[in-house]
Amino acid sequence: MTRNSIALPSLIGLVLVCGSVWLLWSLSRQGNPAPGKGSPITLHCAAGLAKPVQRIAAQYEKETGRRVNLQFGGSGTLLSGLQVSKQGDLFLAADSGYIKKGRDLKLIAEVLPVATLTPVIAVKSGNPKGIKGLADFTRADVRIALADPASAAVGEVARKMFEEVGLWAEVEKAAQTRGVFQPTVSGLATDVSSGPIDAAIVWGAVADQFERVDSVTLESSDRFVSHVNIGVLGASRVPTAALHFARYLSASDRGLTIFKEEGFTPVAGDAWAEVPELTLFSGGVNRVAIEETLREFQQREGVRVNTVYNGCGILVSQMRSGANPDAYLACDTSYMDEVHARFRDHQLVSSTEMVIITAPGNPKKVTSLADLAKPGMKVATTNPEFSALGGLTHKLLKAVNLFDSVIANVTYGDAPTADAVVTRVRTAREDAGIVYRANTVGLGGDLEIIEIESPLASASQPVAVSLTTTHPHLMDRLVSALIDERSGARYRDAGFEFIPGKEWPKP
């Protein structure tokens, strides 16, 4: 036994180790993007959607130079993995149920709709067994496959469909005795395509991807449509890059075109823009409450929101003369009612009371609305033409029969916004003025605030998205950001009541 007898094998081993390490190292370099092209993002994608998503990711990389790593698996499997690993940036699930679960688990932040899936019966090419409907699943000569309702969305849908026609128990038994249960929709389609299975309920778009598979349309399918959504993961370290791709994938003139080509039914998506520019009309009263939220929203989404703050009377007349904001956050519901036909999904965000403010020290000893009608008072109000506050003030005064006597004391009635009223009263040029409580936050102790005892002395701020915006989903996310609890804290700090979701009578 010479020394050489182990020297040569050791050398070979060393070469193999070095060679394979070098190979893996160069592969890992290949996986990283060239510097300066932004961070690569990881999309956890339902395997059934792999085909369109691979094309979209390739097109995206070509168009923007940004890289998307795709991670495929069953929606449920991916979600479990995300729960453990808390890694990645986006999650594209085959059914909204998984997105909802992800939201409940606080794994998912924003959600963008992508497409819908319709169930069909997958049969072998030419439909040799002549399968026409759900009833054929109980035939003794038909071998069927079902997706496990617990793990696959299509399985849950199939169960509901069979339950509706009272066949579920029979069909479940048929699958157990002469068929098969599969955990994914792809498994079902594979069984029909290359296995012994004659019929299975699958998504129409998935059936189209498989060769040697025909689909039979179901009469009841409209009521069992599933929604494909992409969710931005809370764990993402690059949410802006993730949202950029999510917007691309769900853009009507980008990703959704490819979804359509691959046989899916895309939603009406937003238009694609590298950096979308949006216009928000907002009543001046909201400014302090929403500024920080808007700044965060723009930064996270990588979009630009041009916010026009003004008296709502002015905003309404601008809209009447052709201005077309993407969303509108009104000062009061009455100023939404005037233009409601241009907007959809109106909802309340906040409300604030109207109060009387007095000059420092309250020299005229004002204690109620009636005191404003006393002779010698100097009162400041906002202009009812321009400002919601002005309009509401007039309405309130008329309701309590003080209109003429108080208006007679108004020495400054042209303020376009409440801030001007505050300034006048603070500098004691007027003795009192009517503003929102939200206008008085942070003004210090020298101003006295007197509450007005009337149900009419309140303004509620609704928000709505334009019917004609090219970015309806992005605007929906803006609305979501406004009615989010973080925004709520800012509203409360600014003296508002935060009342998202509260109902109000619409015209």
Partner: protein, 273 residues
């Protein structure tokens, strides 16, 4: 080594050997049938299209990653298997049966459990500390680690039985003749075990090549990142590209056959050990 049987005429054992042959032949027939069905079933395998598919960038990446990771896994497995196998075969110590059971764990456990455990380990503070230095989960190191955890156990078990078959007397003689323990190990034990080491490496490599469950859970199925050939088959099946899945299966079959024939022609085989 079993002696070749020289049958006498009349061959007295023929009913037994025929029965055994028939029984074994059934399994061979099954293997052959599987091979043929991959190649010919339903016109799924067309060499031209298969080659074009295998030459596409994602598949080339998966093939390179598969080769690199499995070879590294095999080498590192041997590196672990030789010392463990040697120590376990030569020494008795308290708690040995416990370690023995631990070493067999990756063989007995479903591979998916290994993948899940790896995933969970890298969520612990220790795992996170490692991740902060070198990203493991869902990256290339996780592929090697997932393969290694399972494959090394097989190599260890094989190496141990190899060392157990080597008579310790040779070593003892070498020691009495003036060798240091290191020299005895290097000059006497290792050369005797050389075929076994190659066999253990080959076994580990074959295990690594087929590893899927733990890779899927721990490394994910990311194209151009952690996609190995078994992952490719899974991904292609998922989008209904059965032809692609068959092409990759045939590729894996070919690679496996080439390696096994090479090893065999070098005069070594797992059987001989």
């Amino acid at each position: 080594m079993a002696q070749t049987l020289k049958p006498h005429r009349p061959w007295p054992g023929w009913p037994l050997y025929t029965a055994l042959g028939l029984l074994g032949g059934l399994y061979l027939l099954l293997l052959l049938g599987l091979l043929l069905s991959l190649l010919f079933a339903d016109g799924l395998f067309a060499p031209g299209e298969a080659l074009a598919f295998l030459n596409s960038p994602p598949i080339r990446y998966a093939l390179t990653l598969t080769l690199g990771s499995t070879i590294l896994t095999a080498m590192v497995s041997v590196l672990f298997a030789v010392p463990i196998g040697y120590l376990m075969s030569r020494f008795s110590f308290p708690g040995k049966s416990l370690i023995d059971a631990l070493l067999d764990l990756p063989i007995v456990l479903p591979p998916l459990v290994i993948g899940l455990a790896l995933l969970l380990f890298f969520m612990t503070p220790i795992g996170q500390a490692i991740e902060s230095v070198i990203p493991v989960t869902y990256a290339i190191p996780s592929v090697v680690l997932a393969q290694l955890t399972v494959a090394a156990a097989f190599a260890v078990r094989l190496m141990r039985s190899i060392f157990e078959q080597i008579d310790p007397r040779c070593e003892q003689v070498a020691l009495t003749l003036g060798c240091s323990p290191g020299q005895a190990f290097r000059k006497v034990v290792l050369p005797q075990a050389s075929r076994g080491i190659v066999a253990a490496g080959t076994l580990a490599w074959a295990r690594a090549l087929g590893e899927f469950g733990p890779v899927l859970l721990f490394a994910g199925a990311t194209r151009f990142r952690t996609e190995v050939l078994p992952t490719t088959i899974f991904l292609e099946m998922n989008v209904g590209n059965i032809e692609g899945a068959v092409a990759v299966s045939v590729l894996m079959l070919t690679v496996a056959m080439i390696v096994l024939i090479l090893i065999r022609s070098a005069g070594m085989s797992i059987r001989e050990v």
